[in-house]
Structure formats: structure tokens, C-alpha cells
Symmetry: C2
Subunit: 442 residues, 2 copies
């Protein structure tokens, strides 16, 4: 993609309304635009990151055996009266009346709707286990939306829902999602630590938050440093092996880890002084086991092998992809801008023409642009007539993992410079070697 | 994908509420579930088709130079007061109040919001042409939603918006989208005919609807049979060549074509009797050129090469992917079910085990499942314990392009049967040849 033909509205100034670094950098890098209170447009650069995050989430949900569906954003109030949550949910729920004066709402979550789908079709234990997920917009009318897409009113959520014949089977479903989340956050380039959590308005008896550590994080967390060395299950993990899943969950829940609200001073004191890690964290995922909380009032039951009817045991599993994008930036940036992990970078390489209009520079860049593209890399080619200093600043701000810098002096020597955004390391390589060198170092 | 592990809730009976064939078949094939008036969940099979349609739309928008963004579903009423449409839009607009009693609405379209984005960032003709699109949920509170996803209240729309310095440039932008639409509909397996159209609440002076012909279509259309022989521009079409674009549009708008509301008896009588095609049609795309209708009241202007400020000239371009899925079914089905065009089929191949549990059949199917997958095909493997007759009916109903049928007698002879869903043609081939034969005939 040539920058001259792209829509990348970089801001030179720090926007005053942005209180946290991800909000500031997303606005400055032309990733998002605020449209209203807690409401944002994803501009082309931001949309690319969001798509990459969503793709990884999908792949890991599918790998764990979940099936993707797509439920509507607008729900009928009747459904929520069945579960008893319509009145409970309070002012965060955006309530709507249609032209026939019927009560609707913009879904803040989908336990009720997915339970209605389940009970309409599934009648036998033979069709279990079942896990249905979707990635869809949600709305929560927060009193004070802020921090950009980190706490917006309209936000994207991946929410999965598991249905099982009994507690034991649903615990296995919970474990599969737990492991899926470990893999998901690792694949987007983050280290996420699962912590016991409060269940809040979703309800239930068992819940974990997945927290990434970032100096600028929203909340205080306490954990054992042992987490930093735990290995994340590989792509060959067998999600159908309940015992293996349980073993992984066991391993990832044994060392101490807690958010401030669940913090237990007694248990914390038992952690060795050298192993204590008190840090700031950002919640990027939240999983719940709530058993029959919805299946019972809504009559979601199946016939068991015993010939009797059983209310299904359920869990729900959320990741906010829009929030996760902001979380990644909180955890990975420096004073010059964003530092994207490779897997979610909007482009793999920024190609910088230091002197657009110079025939030799243009020719060298055109050639590299084509070669890098042919090697399967997404390239953003800065072919604009801005000054080199401005181009460097933009490249650092938008944080592509690699920069390939082409200037008149280099081209005369048949050379380009390769810069690693994260380490700042620069190397001069021959023009012929650029593609190969990126391959070796990527 | 093994059907025993998939979520495909087939309905045996014809649902009474379905008045048209696409609605009936989508419910029966487990593609969608109704959640409320004019509101649907896309179940796994439907979601796969929707994703394939969206991908083709995206690829063709990108090819034509448009940039993907993602605007929120909820908009502020203020924006619509700026353009003057807030009061005009009537009861189809879903109006909402938030907890602070501010007026919001669920976007029925996005001209206002995208114009606001444009005016905030773009100040010079040098940044033009610009075309921004998104694929996002819309809501129109229809008096009488019906026909399933063909006319629902909450529906998916791809809407693109072009911004240009003057009328001539914006006409070129209109032509690019026109050509992009020809390619898009051809790629999803449809023949779409552009017809002059009324502009309705979007406004403007120039508009075309893209209509696919189907016996069960919603409206009467009149066109010259010459359209059936026109060739659609190839993937190598240069969208930057304004003259080439204009020539294609010229070619595709010269023969007579009109919907009932724009029908002109005089012009129709001039068409040769043997060339007259009066048929039923379904609108699947609609493009508008409306010049300064929004840029003027909303102050969207750029500095021109003459140093003066110019209101930008705009157009908007819509395809409803959810409606398009239904339109494809209306145009491509038989009495047994759906017949998917290859490019949008939810799976490429249905593998039918006529006797699950039989060791030889299971082994042959496991092998074919693996081989077909390795050859890059998406396979739905019916490994359930249903009877063969039921499996055949399901395969025809969900309409995958190819069926590979494995039974005890065939396996004993080292053979399987291959059936083409569209033609009904069946051939017996050796088990070793299945993958190769599908390759030759696909």
C-alpha cells in the first residue's frame, strides 16, 4: 500500500481528551476517531489491527471446538424478563422502544439469547458438548466512558457460551476455554495471567480474569513471578483430552495471583519475598462458570443417558477485541509511539523513501515494494513528499515491526537500512539482500 | 468438519412463517434463526456463507481503491440535525435516549457520520480521491419486516462513500464502484443487471440498482436480453483508468433496463420483440451520486488547485450482504434445496458415509476426509448415525456443490460416487481418484 493513496490521518499534537497512553497513541496514529461519548470509528490502520486480533481469537476458538454464529445487537426485553435480569441490569442497559412501542435493548451480553437458541434446537445429551460464540458489538451505557476504546460504550466482544450435561462436563468446557485464552493472548504477543475473579452481573461460582501486565495498567494486581516462566500450550494441544486440559489449568492456577478486589493478604504472605510481583494490570478476558443460572429459569434442558431431563450446565467466556488492541499498546510502546507485536501489526514493514521524486530512490523503492509484497509481507510504502524526519516520526508512531529506509546516498552504494522498531537496532544491507535479511531476522 | 460435532439444526418441516423460498430454505437448512421481528441469528452454516460473501465484497472494494473502516452502529442525533435528515427520516429510524437523556439513533445509513470524519481530517484536493467503506449492522424499523433476511430490521450493509473535488471526478468514482459491483456480483455467482433507479431518502441525481433475475423475485423488471451476453470486466481491470471505467459503464447502461417504477413504455417499445426480457428481479446493490447534498450543509470542503475552497462531490454505494445471501438462494435452488455457487458455498464438499459404524466405510471416509482437506477443500463429513436417505436429503437441502458418497458395496469395490448438486450428475470413481476427479470437474 502506498501511503499517498492511503487514509492515515496522523495527528501532530497530543489530543487533550486522552488520559492514557493507548488512547493518545491510537488517536495520534490515525487508528480511531471519536464519534460521540464512548463511541469510536476504526480508521483503516486500526481496522487492520482489529481484524488481525479477531482472526487469532477465531482460530483459537475454533481450535478449542467452539462454533461461530452471529447474534443480532438488538434484543427483545421479554427474553431478559425470563431470566430476571431485565430489571436487575440497571442503567448500563440501553433500553429502546420501537415504532410499535415494544421494549427492546442493545445487548450488553448474550446469555439469554444464546440459551433461547439452545433450548429451541438441542434436546439430547448426544448433541453435547456444545460451545457457540460470536464476535459482535455490545453497548453498555457507562456513567463515565473514558480511556478511548478501553472503556467505551459501544465495543466489540467475542462471547462464547458452553452447554453441558452436568457440572463435570461443563468444568471441562471451562478448562478448554481457559487454555484457549492462554493461547490467544500469547499469539497476539501478550503474556496474560489468569486470576480468580468476582462474577458480577453474569453470576456463577467460578470465574477467572486474564490480566496483562503493563506499567500503565488500570488496576493493581498481585502474583507469583512463577507465572512469567510457565509455558503456554502449543498448537498441537489436544482440546478433547479433558485430563490434559485440567492439568494445564491446574498448573496455571496454582501459583498465587489475584486482582486487588480478590487479594488475600494471608496467601500473599506465603509467597516468597523474591517471588512477589505487585504490578499494574489490564483485564483482557473474563470467563465464567455459572451452571444452571440461566438454563433453569429459561427451561434449557436435554434428555440424559438416564432417560431423564437435565438442566444444562453453562459457562460464558468473553474477550473484548477492541479493548485488547488498546491493552496491547499499553503493554508495548515507547516515547516515540506504538511497538506492534508481529502477529497483530497493521503492516509488517514500513518502506521509507527519504527522497520521493528522486529517480534512483523511487526506482529502488518500487523494486523493494514489489519484492517485499511478493515475499508475502504487507508493506506500507511512504512515497509521500514529506521530509525524511517526518517520515521517521510517523513510522515510529505507527509502530510497524520493521522499517526499510532508502535514501540517495544508500541507493548510490546499492544499499538500504533496516531498522527494528522494538530494539532500535539498525543495519545497512545491500538492496538485493533486504528481503532475505528480513526473513532471517523476522 | 464432522457433522456429529457441528451445530446444524435442520428442520424437517416447512416453517409456516416463511413466505418466500429463501426464507424457508435458510430456516430449514439451519442457516438462520429468528430472534424477534425482523431480527435473525446467523447459525454456523449461514455464518460461513455470509463470511464468504463479505470477503468477496471486501476484495472488490479494495481492488477499486476503497479503504475499509468501521463506524459505530449508534449515532448522535446532532449529526443528523446538521444534514436536516433527522426529522425527514420518519419512523423507520430507531430513535434512542441514553441515560443522560441525549438523543441517539441506530444508524440506518452513514452519510452524515462519514462526512463528519472526512471534514475533520481532509483539507486539500491532494488527498483526493477518497473512498471509505465499512461493513456494519444497520437498523430500519420497517412497518412490516418479512421475507427473512431479505427485508429484516437489523441487517448487514456494506456502505462506501466517495469524496471528490468536482462533479467530473466524482462521476469517475461512481463509475469505479459501478464496475466493482459488476465484478462482485459475478464473483458470488450471480448475473446482476444495473438499472436506473429512484434515489429515495439518500437523495441525488444519479442512481443505479443492481438487480439479479429470479423467478421468485420481489419486483417486476424489464430489460434487453443483450445484458445476458455482456462480459464482466476481469480481475486485471485498471480501476485508475477513468476512460476505461466510463467505457464499461457506457456499455452496461446502453441497452434498455428498468425496474417497474422507472419503466418507460416508449423506450421499451423500441426494443426488438425477440430481445425483450420481462422478468422478476431482486435488488442486491444500490449506488447513488448526490454531489453536495451532504458536504454543503455539513461544511465538508477542501482547498482546490486554484487555492479556493470547494465543497466535495460525493456518492454512496450499498450492498446488503445478508440480503444478498437470500438473493442468491432465490436465484439458485430446486425443489430439494439450495444450490450454492462454488464461491459462496459454506463447504466445498459433503462427504456422506452411508453406513457410519461400518469399519470399512469409516476407514474409507476418514481417508477421504483427510485427503480432501489436504487438497485445500472445506469438507462437511456426515459421520452421524442417521439413515442414508436422511443424509442424502440433508446434503441436497444445504446445497454443497459436490457430494462424495461412500457405501459398503462401493467400498468393497474400492469405489465412491461423486454427485454434482447442480446437474444431479453422478459418477462412480475409484477411491484413489476422488480428489483428482473433483479437481478436474470443479
Amino acid at each position: 500500500m502506498r501511503l499517498s493513496q492511503y487514509f492515515l490521518p496522523i495527528l501532530k499534537e497530543n489530543p487533550r481528551e486522552a488520559e492514557i497512553v493507548s488512547h493518545r497513541l491510537m488517536l495520534r496514529a490515525g487508528m480511531i476517531r471519536q464519534q460521540g461519548q464512548g463511541s469510536f470509528t476504526w480508521l483503516p490502520l486500526g481496522k487492520r489491527v482489529l481484524d488481525k486480533v479477531n482472526r487469532i481469537i477465531r482460530e483459537e476458538q475454533d481450535r478449542a471446538g467452539a462454533h461461530e454464529i452471529l447474534m443480532p445487537t438488538i434484543q427483545s426485553a421479554e427474553l431478559w424478563r425470563e431470566s430476571g435480569r431485565y430489571d436487575d441490569y440497571g442503567k448500563e442497559m440501553l433500553r429502546i422502544k420501537d415504532r410499535q412501542n415494544r421494549d427492546l435493548l442493545y445487548g450488553p451480553t448474550n446469555e439469554e439469547m444464546v440459551t433461547e437458541i439452545f433450548r429451541s434446537y438441542v434436546k439430547s445429551y448426544k448433541d453435547l458438548p456444545l460451545n457457540l460464540y460470536h464476535i459482535q458489538w455490545k453497548f453498555r451505557d457507562e456513567v463515565r466512558p473514558r480511556f478511548g476504546v478501553m472503556r467505551s460504550r459501544e465495543f466489540l466482544m467475542k462471547d462464547a457460551y458452553s452447554f453441558d450435561i452436568d457440572y463435570e462436563a461443563s468444568k471441562a468446557a471451562y478448562n478448554r476455554m481457559f487454555v484457549s485464552y492462554l493461547r490467544t493472548f500469547t499469539r497476539v504477543g501478550m503474556k496474560a495471567i489468569p486470576m480468580r475473579a468476582d462474577t458480577g452481573p453474569i453470576g456463577g461460582d467460578l470465574s477467572h480474569e486474564f490480566i496483562i501486565l503493563a506499567e500503565t495498567g488500570e488496576s493493581q494486581v498481585f502474583c507469583d513471578k512463577a507465572y512469567l516462566d510457565l509455558t503456554v500450550p502449543g498448537a498441537d494441544t489436544d482440546f478433547r483430552d479433558d485430563a490434559a486440559m485440567a492439568e494445564i489449568v491446574q498448573r496455571w492456577t496454582t501459583p498465587y495471583a489475584a486482582t486487588e478486589e480478590m487479594h488475600d493478604e494471608g496467601a500473599w504472605n506465603a509467597v516468597g519475598d523474591g517471588d512477589k510481583l505487585a504490578a499494574r494490570g489490564i483485564e483482557v478476558g473474563h470467563i465464567f462458570h455459572f451452571g444452571e443460572k440461566y438454563s433453569k429459569p429459561m427451561g434449557a434442558k436435554v434428555q440424559g443417558p438416564d432417560g431423564k431431563e437435565h438442566f444444562v450446565s453453562m459457562g460464558s467466556y468473553g474477550i473484548g477485541p477492541s479493548r485488547l488492541v488498546a491493552g496491547i499498546i499499553e503493554a508495548s510502546h515507547d516515547e516515540n509511539g506504538i511497538i506492534w507485536p508481529d502477529a497483530v501489526a497493521p503492516f509488517d514493514v514500513g518502506l521509507i523513501n527519504m527522497k520521493s521524486g528522486d529517480a534512483a530512490c523511487d526506482a529502488a523503492c518500487d523494486r523493494l515494494h514489489a519484492e517485499l509484497g511478493a515475499s508475502g509481507r504487507d508493506v506500507l510504502y511512504d512515497d509521500t513528499d514529506s521530509r525524511a524526519g517526518g517520515k521517521f516520526a510517523t513510522a515510529d508512531l505507527i509502530g510497524l515491526p520493521w522499517q526499510v529506509i532508502v535514501g540517495p546516498r544508500g541507493v548510490a552504494a546499492n544499499e538500504a537500512e533496516i531498522k527494528n522498531r522494538k530494539t532500535g537496532e539498525r543495519r545497512t544491507v545491500s538492496l538485493d539482500a533486504v528481503v532475505r535479511e528480513l526473513g532471517a531476522t523476522a
